[in-house]
């Protein structure tokens, strides 16, 4: 009976809408993420990122029943050293001219250069690099993932609100750790905090986990953090997961840890449930039997942005979708309490930053009192007057 009713409903709809069926193919071009994580809880799943895109497509398809649109996800997973260009070409050949990209910056740039030929539009769901949004920004890349500056500013606002303004910064020895450390330095300057000491944790290689690792770690971390000037909070800049998670409860001084461990600024966490987020978490858990991580969420959101733009424009053409997304008409709900929009000057999604301890959302930035003439979300990351981006 129900099926008949649905059918009748859809027939009426189809007639009323007079819309031609529109099938939109969305590629998911994703790297295989390393299994070198400090916590076993952070091991990437086989369907990392893809699962978020699939859920977004399922949500879009429910809407699509009423608008005569369908969304198909095509997975393209890259092995180590595999060519992103070849994978993008395969997606193009399969008809996917809208691509959700979970790629590190160098591969993303190469893929975006290639995408010029086919007119494809990429949605960056993981690379946090400032350069991709500034000097090297491109018209065919929409940034769904927050930049390092947005993440650092989100944390900085909260620490300043807490009056924890003396920071002890420990960074890893990888180039991206220096980028992140630099974002914290700028954030400290922007919001009136002070970095009282900076140290480097050298990555000497080797595995992260072992059966008796805790014994050594317990002795090493106090030594690493000893003798710092008085500080309020220990900030870790460690994108390669080499040491940050060793810091909490082990530092020489009894101080909270934030940054890459402890209180972590992020676009999403499996524990976030405010503003209706519980419903999204439930749907994800039901479909994929695991918690939704930050990359899954960014991929879900990218797919929802594609869906929203397709619904409103009645088109699957990348150029039309892009034009809508950068227009003032576009806004999207993402379970973060406010509407999200794109910064038209560099196509970065404006978004609140969650501060999560891995169990709870402790707070959400922008914090109260950080004001902005356009939108308080623009207190996070580089603002229009500072941008070096010239879209092309």
């Amino acid at each position: 009976m129900r099926q008949i009713l649905v059918l009748v409903g859809m027939l009426i709809l189809a007639r009323a809408a007079l819309a031609e069926p529109l099938a939109i193919k969305v590629g998911v071009l994703r790297e295989t993420h390393g299994r070198e994580t400090i916590s076993i809880l952070d091991l990437p799943a086989a369907d990392d990122t893809l699962a978020g895109a699939l859920l977004g497509a399922a949500d879009n398809n429910t809407t699509g029943k009423f608008t005569n649109q369908s969304f198909e996800t095509i997975d393209a997973q890259l092995g180590e050293g595999e060519d992103a260009v070849a994978a993008l070409d395969r997606l193009t050949a399969q008809g996917a001219r809208v691509v959700i990209a979970d790629l590190a910056a160098p591969r993303l740039s190469v893929a975006a250069e290639r995408a010029k030929a086919s007119g494809a539009l990429l949605f960056n769901v993981s690379a946090p690099d400032e350069a991709l949004r500034e000097e090297e920004c491109r018209a065919n890349v929409v940034h769904v993932a927050p930049s390092r500056a947005m993440l650092a500013d989100g944390l900085a606002q909260y620490l300043v609100w807490k009056k924890w303004t003396r920071w002890f910064l420990i960074k890893g020895s990888h180039p991206e750790d220096e980028f992140l450390a630099s974002a914290y330095r700028l954030a400290a300057k922007k919001f009136g905090a002070k970095i009282v000491e900076e140290r480097v944790f050298e990555d000497t290689g080797g595995g992260r986990r072992s059966d008796s690792g805790a014994v050594q770690t317990q002795r090493q971390i106090p030594a690493l953090t000893q003798g710092a000037p008085a500080y309020d909070v220990l900030i870790a800049a460690d994108e390669s997961e080499v040491f940050a998670n060793y810091l909490p409860y082990r530092s020489f001084d009894a101080r909270p840890v934030a940054g890459s461990a402890g209180l972590v600024p992020t676009n999403w966490d499996g524990a976030h449930e405010q503003w209706g987020a519980q419903q999204l978490q439930n749907r994800f858990m039901q479909n994929h039997r695991r918690a939704m991580n930050a990359r899954d969420n960014a991929a879900w959101l990218a797919m929802r942005m594609i869906g929203e733009a397709a619904t409103r424009t009645g088109s699957g053409d990348p150029e039309k979708l892009r034009a809508y997304l950068v227009s003032p008409e576009f806004s999207i709900a993402a379970f973060k309490g406010v509407r999200l929009t794109l910064r038209p000057w560099n196509q970065q999604l404006r978004q609140p930053i969650l501060l999560s301890d891995g169990r709870m959302t402790a707070s959400v930035s922008p914090q109260e009192g950080f004001l902005h003439q356009t939108t308080e979300l623009d207190t996070l990351g580089r603002d229009r007057p500072e941008t070096k981006c010239r879209l092309k």
Binding site: V8, G9, I12, T63, Q279, E308, A333, L377
Partner: protein
Amino acid sequence: MTKHPHPNPPPLRGRGSRLRPLQKHGLMPEGRIPSPAKRGRVREGAFGLALIAGLFTSPAFANLAYVSNEKGNSITIIDTDKLEAVKTIKVGRRPRGVELTKDGSELFICAGDDDSIQVLDTRTLQITGKLPSGPDPELMALSPDGKTVYVSNENDNLVTMIDTATKRQIGDVPVGVEPEGMAVSPDGNILVNTSETTNMAHMIDTRSKAIVANILVDARPRFAAFKADGSELWVSSEVGGTVSVIDPVKHAVKQKISFEIPGLSKEAIQPIGISFTKDGKRAFVALGPANRVAVIDAETKKIEKYLLVGQRVWHLAFTPDEKYLLTANGVSNDVSVIDTASLKVVKSIPVGPFPWGIAVAPK
């Protein structure tokens, strides 16, 4: 926010005025305000309760409002003549949408975390049973004849239809992602459901149970209301920040109402509950974390005034004589009372934690 004073600061009297410094510093506690004056008030309330208790057997004496406390797992009952809370009763987990039967004898309570709709006997104040809803029910609408209650089930993209007499499910309709707002046309023929992630108002023929139109509105539509004469349907979009005015015959959005409040960012203005006066001349729209209710000329759609109420205002309900409009304020744990003649906020009534839904008994 409070750095930019409202151009027409509404005079809050009595306890209402004490809310303001607390709001300003963001120090509003989750529970009730622990001030000596307030404690005195509670005792007075308890005393009043003893008097009122006798009246519950003949509810005609006091006119009552029922407020669901989302985090309190409770319903606060307000005497709308005296404008004070008279009783709090424990109900299921995460109560949100509340709806009274036409004769006021039963209150239906969406207890989302219990995946059920509880039935409260308003005479005995006992939970007498539950309605067979789907998982995570959030909002309901009652048919004009009172025979059917329509429920949105957020978790499985369904609208459920339940016979209020037999308490049996009589149908369901698949709708968009995260169904929420519900409204029934005054003639009972059209049911409207809004889906939060699909961003549509689905119009459903109540007899054939088929969708007859899907109307795109702005992001996260949360509430729908018909004017009393059925000429217009208004849908509020929480994240989009607008109210869409829909022609229910042509199935088209004919106008969008947007809001501007000096000193508040666009993102903070999040329309939720809508209430029309019976004559259809005026509408009140709750603006969520903007902590204001917009007063709108429902004919010209011009915004007449913004009234400062408690924090994160969700849903609204008129007293039967429309003398007062009550607002459930989620973060400040109170109900603001708007005098509809003077368009002033005249009182704030403390209720339980995170008040969300509100229903007023018929006279």
